[in-house]
């Protein structure tokens, strides 16, 4: 991980590139996080790729309920030569969660972005094939959001066995 000063330097460089792209930095327990603006995410990722972070280790979403903006997408980048990791975090509100896709830079982001869409509802503009990946195609709702109920079925015992279709007779 770049240390705190390295992180600040990286943030400075990216801000020099385009001023509104980096909204903040965070360094906690050895983990460097760049808070980026959702519209400029492709530029940030491309700039970081130029600095050596060429491997996208993970792309996942978080629901920051009750803090606004609620939905976050995190990109974990890895520099294989320096063995350095850096995280880019973007936050989008729940009313219009649109984020430009990263599949242009990292083709391996296709499935993870579909998963973030499926679980949180974040729409990735420019994604070649954005549809549900884990839930059935006609499922309504985004399960991983905090206000989605966990769900579950009542366990079938003998007293409610009639609700099962079965050869219990």
């Amino acid at each position: 991980m770049p240390d705190a000063t390295g992180l600040e330097l990286t943030a400075h460089e990216l801000r020099d590139h385009s001023a509104e792209s980096i909204l903040g930095t965070d360094f906690q327990r050895g983990r460097a996080v760049l808070l980026a603006a959702p519209d400029h995410i492709t530029d940030v990722l491309a700039a970081l790729m130029g600095k050596g972070y060429t491997f996208l280790a993970s792309l996942h979403g978080v629901d920051y309920y009750p803090e606004e903006p609620r939905l976050g997408v995190l990109y974990e980048l890895l520099d294989m030569h320096e063995v350095d990791r850096i995280t880019v975090k973007i936050r989008v509100g729940i009313d219009d969660p649109r984020v430009p896709t990263a599949t242009g830079l990292f083709p391996g982001a296709e499935f993870p972005e579909r998963e973030v869409y499926d679980m949180f509802g974040v729409v990735f503009d420019g994604h070649p094939d954005l549809r549900r990946i884990l839930m059935p195609e006609d499922f309504e709702g985004f399960p991983q959001r905090r206000d989605f109920p966990v769900g579950g079925e009542p366990v079938l015992f003998t007293f409610n066995e009639e609700q099962s279709y079965g050869k219990w007779q």
Partner: protein
């Protein structure tokens, strides 16, 4: 010290309906029958001694139970333990059930091993429908029997959409537990399934009382069957 000697008689005194214990006597009887020398009562006794009578149903179910063709239906972690019973330590071949068929048309036992997700349930139902009668289903593991470790939006208990004969608990059940479950299924097929704990603790008569109207069909069960032929959701 006194040593007692006595002439031993036949080890198992002959019982009515059983062949003579002495091999020579049986041999002579068989020779006589083949020659046509046995007549009347002697012939009847001979036939009685050498034929095992049973009903056709019992014979058929005996052979069905001993030659189940399980289907490879590994879904999740329980599938690995199901593969273990095919392995050499918990050899399923000593029971005659090693012929795991991939095609539902050729299999008669569906071992549902693993968690059944909402997307997979119609697929399982379709495959179960494709199996030919007589067919049985074992729900292996906690996830498909009840909801298991995960009781959430994504899973369906297998009882909800298909009939299950034996539930095997465990997460994942040990291969011995699965063998026990399949052997229980075999006794069920043979028609004499044990009472289980009721037999052990002498508690026969404590079966649950079904709600009134169940037995005579006046009350319709709340059924949640997946309508056949429609496999939307994939």
């Amino acid at each position: 010290m006194e040593v007692k000697r006595e002439v031993l008689g036949p080890a198992h005194p002959e019982q009515p309906g059983q062949a003579p214990a002495d091999f020579r006597a049986r041999q002579l009887l068989a020779r006589d029958m083949l020659r046509g020398d046995l007549e009347g009562e002697a012939l009847e006794r001979f036939v009685e001694q050498s034929i095992m009578t049973t009903t056709l149903e019992k014979a058929v179910s005996w052979s069905q139970g001993n030659s189940l063709y399980p289907m490879t239906f590994g879904l999740a972690c329980c599938a690995i333990e199901m593969m273990s019973i095919v392995g050499a330590r918990m050899d399923i071949a000593r029971f005659g059930w090693e012929a795991f068929r991939a095609s539902p048309r050729q299999a008669d036992l569906l071992i549902l091993s693993g968690r059944v997700s909402v997307k997979m349930a119609p697929v399982i139902r379709r495959i179960y429908d494709q199996m030919l009668e007589p067919r049985w289903a074992i729900s292996m593991g906690a996830c498909c029997s009840s909801m298991g470790v995960f009781n959430n939006y994504a899973l369906v208990p297998s009882d909800k959409f298909m009939p299950i004969d034996v539930h095997v608990p465990g997460c994942p059940p040990r291969p011995e537990a699965l063998m026990h479950g399949i052997l229980r299924l075999r006794s069920k097929i043979h028609g004499h399934s044990p009472d289980g704990w009721r037999e052990r603790y002498d508690a026969v008569g404590t079966e649950e009382v079904l709600p009134a109207g169940e037995a005579d069909g006046t009350r319709e069960a709340a059924i949640n069957i997946f309508p056949g032929g429609d496999t939307a959701g994939a």
